[in-house]
Amino acid sequence: MRPAVLRTLTAAAVTATALSAGAALAADKVKVGFVSTLSGPSAALGVDIRDAFMLAVKLNGGKLGGLPAEVIIGDDQFKPDVGKQLFEKNIKRDRVDFMTGVVFSNIMLAAVPEAFDSKTFYISPNAAPSPLAGKECNPYFFAVSWPNDAYHEAAGQNATNKGFKKVYLIAPNYQAGKDSLAGFKRYFKGQVAGEVYTKLGQLDYSAELAEVRAAKPDAVYTFLPGGMGINFIKQFVGAGLSKDMSLLQPGFGADQDIIRPVGDAMLGTFDTAHWALDLPNAANKKFVAEFEKEYKRLPSVYASQGYDAAQLIDSAVREVKGKIEDKDAVRRALKAAKFQSVRGDFKFNTNQYPIQNYYLRVVGKDAQGRLVNKTLGEPIFRNHGDAYVQDCGMK
């Protein structure tokens, strides 16, 4: 037992020396804790966010807001308790200034209290569930992606516009899943043929697909991000259902991480998102070109969000001229969001969730024959916020 205590003391002493050296030069660098899902069937999402975030830092010369940036990367392995422990380590041991990175709402909801308790800002490059938009909004939470419901609201509106009568709904049984179908139903004026919640992480949909076939809807709307979506679409096609009904998707179900493994079966899929590769603004053109050059693949919507998260932090640190200890100033700077987002105009709502446009996209081929999402027609929503902002006490 004693050797173990000695070892802990030694490790602590080494760390303490390093820390005290760091503490003396307080705001000489920006430390960011990055926790995301980097392994497992849905790793592509976390990897994209990480790669884009690091690209932004690199293009800024290894700095954020003029200060050298240190990004500490951890893999939550799709497990909330691991994510929570990584947050604790980053916040208490590494003394980071910002936390970011988490893909999935359940992991984020378990881990983010650590950030709130220690008054560390969490910049969400993905998960942005409805409770944090409304009643439980928190001044230390900034969603740089979208409100969880948004893509689904746009999809519901699109389904209404296109005249679908009976839609069957499937989503995983967790906060984001509930938000998704609630959002779809909010704007879809037709009949819901069925509403099924599957287990988060479930990969075999034979039972659900048999039920879909029996219900005979015009269309199926699913929110199945990552590995879940890949499997569902393959099995949907395998069961022959793609001939009888349309598959409607939010952007998560039809972006690069799913297009690549599923392949040509995705051609002609319609989906909704706040961003696409072909959005015609300068920041986006630079982002897509640089990402392709650095990583030899096209960025997904998740990558665009990771890139914007880094740019947001960069703009805030720059705005407070490096004095990141002044939390109130940092919050005002974050809220002002003075950066060029790859999606075009960017503005925060009073609950620190974005107000932005949502587009209809379709999967087609680009000039080089690769499968990509292209925007189609006018935006479905312009300057769209979320349904929960009135419940939030922040002004």
């Binding site: 099924v196 919640y197 075999d204 034979s206 076939r213 029996a214 590995g227 395998g238 022959g240």
Partner: protein, 305 residues
């Protein structure tokens, strides 16, 4: 629920049960004959799936990939048996649990170091569509293949165990090891062979299920426990028991994902109905095992007389 829906769900249950059987068969033999609790059996399934995915990538052909993976996995299993597991036969169950648990960690990370945490594996393009079995009843071609392979292997195993000399030795070893050894059976070669067959069966299951589930690190843990449940229900050491147990578990699990949610949806909101069905099904499976253990602890078809 319509008749066609019921039929389609029954096929799903059959498909799942048959794949579970491939795992349970190897496990029951190892447990029955060598009296060894092998927690790393799920890892053999995972290694088989990764090998198949890798060979498919290398050769570009699904069939070639799977056929190459089977002997490769069998060799892996046999090497594991001769080097490591052999020293565990004489040890108590607790030591076997710890050692094979350690093996799970080693093999999981080992696979991750070699191939990364997952590999893509798709069904052959020819089978990616449905087949019309009856007017109105469409069933994915690939799943029909799985059912076919499962049934064929079940038959093959039955023939092996009942009609061949090796099968007779296996049955002798399962029912009374000491007697078999006393009769001069080269028990060490037999053990290695049994282990190799078990690994090969796991590989087939892993390769077949890979396109439906995901070939990923840790895929063995979930199915391992179900395999143990199956062999306890069926009877340790009995292949027939493994088959009956697997089909039972397969159907109960599928019922939980289909029939039960229908029932629950009558009086529960959709989120609860969706969660309650699978939960009740899983509990039912374990309840079934507990009842069998309590009433007939040797299982439904005990190998030992």
């Amino acid at each position: 629920m319509s008749g066609l829906l019921l039929l389609e769900q029954s096929l799903n249950g059959l498909q799942f049960g048959l794949m579970l059987f491939l795992l349970a068969a190897g496990l029951t033999l190892v447990f029955g004959i060598m009296d060894m609790i092998n927690l790393a059996h799920g890892s053999l399934y995972m290694v088989g799936a990764f090998l198949a995915a890798w060979f498919v990538q290398l050769t570009g052909s699904f069939v070639a990939g799977v056929l190459l993976a089977i002997p490769a996995a069998a060799v892996f299993g046999m090497v594991l048996e001769t080097t490591l597991l052999r020293s565990l036969y004489a040890r108590d169950h607790l030591s076997q649990v710890l050692a094979t648990f350690a093996l799970i960690l080693i093999i999981n990370e080992g696979v991750r170091m070699v191939w990364g945490s997952d590999l893509p594996l798709s069904a052959p393009a020819a089978l990616s569509g449905p087949v019309e079995l009856l007017p109105g009843l469409y069933y994915p071609a690939y799943r029909l293949l799985i059912i076919g392979v499962g049934l064929a292997l079940a038959l093959l195993l039955y023939l092996l165990v009942t009609q061949t000399r090796m099968g007779a030795l296996v049955r002798a070893g399962a029912s009374n090891r000491e007697m078999a050894m006393a009769m001069g059976v080269d028990i060490r070669r037999l053990f290695t062979a049994v282990f190799g067959i078990g690994a090969a069966l796991c590989a087939v299951a892993g390769a077949m299920l890979g396109p439906l589930l995901a070939v990923q690190v840790g895929m063995g843990e979930g199915i391992l426990i179900l395999a143990f449940v199956v062999i306890v229900i069926g009877g340790i050491g009995s292949i027939r028991g493994a088959l009956v147990g697997s089909l039972l578990v397969g159907f109960v699990d599928t019922a939980g994902r289909t029939v039960l949610p229908h029932l629950f949806r009558e009086f529960l909101p959709p989120q609860f109905a969706s969660a309650a069905g699978p939960a009740v099904a899983s509990i039912a499976v374990y309840l079934l095992m507990a009842v069998v253990l309590f009433v007939r602890p040797q299982g439904l078809f005990p190998a030992r007389g």
